[in-house]
Amino acid sequence: MLPIQALTDKEGYLKRLSDWSEDAAVTIARDEKIELTAAHWEVIWLLREVHREYQHTPVTRVFIKIMAEKLGADKGRSLYLMRLFPETPMRKACKIAGLPKPTNCI
């Protein structure tokens, strides 16, 4: 595999969505000091699925609503997402999921 830096832009987002793989996700997450667990993967797959289906990355508030629907009410909370992807959850989750940088992070 190419070093991940060859595939990402200067902020660490993959330049081509098709370059994403689970290995790439692990590498990008490590750069963000996140060790991926099953709880992270569940969110990453959901985010990718939403993006594929709607061609859109929702704002945090809306994604949390979708998490509540698909993963259960206990997980549909901003605190839960914040704990998995600290500080800027949507940015980090998108970066690791191989999706473009969200245009806003409200």
Partner: protein, 121 residues
Amino acid sequence: MSETKSFLVLNRHAPYASNFAKEALDVALMSAVFNQKTSLLFMDDGVFQLVRSQDPSEIQHKNCSQTLPMLEMYEVRHIYVDEISLNERGLSEEDLVIPAQRVNAQEISQLLTRQHVILNF
């Protein structure tokens, strides 16, 4: 945040020849995030944005019709379509990718009049 304003996003152009469809949708979703009272109205060739089964992959375009169902999740509930524009183009509700309320000229006139802001695309 200032007071809530009513925003009408008015779509009158077909998708793909321009970026209007995408920009209109971005604006509609963002205004909803900022808790504005957002509505969308589709008229003239803009009704073609609502047509089902669009697949622009071979013309290297993003498929905005796939994003339309997101409006509901952003709690944008007022989506209107001009019935004459639909009829003129031989379209009916079954052809549309999301449910939209059919409105006549009189209703559109009232809709335009009661908006704080009309954004044209």
